[in-house]
């Protein structure tokens, strides 16, 4: 793997390394939502959500569809959930190991 490839991969992980962005992706799991809906669902400010959405879009993780004066966002790369599942599984195993140290 080349230096450049590692940079690109690291950049993708960075996009996923923010709780609010994960929260947005999580909320989109059941289907597309408008920016306003995401603002309500997350409790974050509208500019904040817009910015996160543009970052997610830059990484191809969400798609944007405009209808009237509303923008609908949806999951663009379902593999993100696969990634989260693997990470969660890893965290679980790690806890188990740490626990077993005390048994």
């Amino acid at each position: 793997m080349s230096e450049q490839q590692l940079d690109v991969v690291a950049q993708r992980f960075r996009v996923l390394s923010d709780p609010m962005r994960l929260k947005i992706l999580h909320n989109l799991r059941d289907g597309e939502l408008t920016v306003g809906s995401l603002v309500n669902a997350t409790g974050a400010s509208q500019p904040n959500i817009s910015k996160h959405l543009s970052i997610l879009r830059g990484a191809g993780l969400v798609n944007r569809r405009q209808d009237g004066n509303m923008a609908y966002f949806s999951i663009g790369a379902p593999f993100v959930f696969q990634l989260c599942d693997i990470v969660c599984e890893g965290i679980r195993k790690e806890f188990e190991q740490k626990q077993s140290t005390f048994r």
Copy 2:
């Protein structure tokens, strides 16, 4: 998924979001290495490598074994390579889509 869970998952992605850490993991793919070997392999400074290794260790991604006055590090969670593969595949598909826009 709870707020707290999202925080933990985001934190894990953050650990993987640095090119030098990915480089270290990549170098460990063929087996354990000492800090010195990793310094040589990566071209980074010794304190820098030590710090990255401690971050990786904190996330359970590498294991440490001491022998004499040398520390041997090895992959602690093989699933990281699975994660990278999925991300790489995602990047490839994204390029394909962007390319097809011009055909």
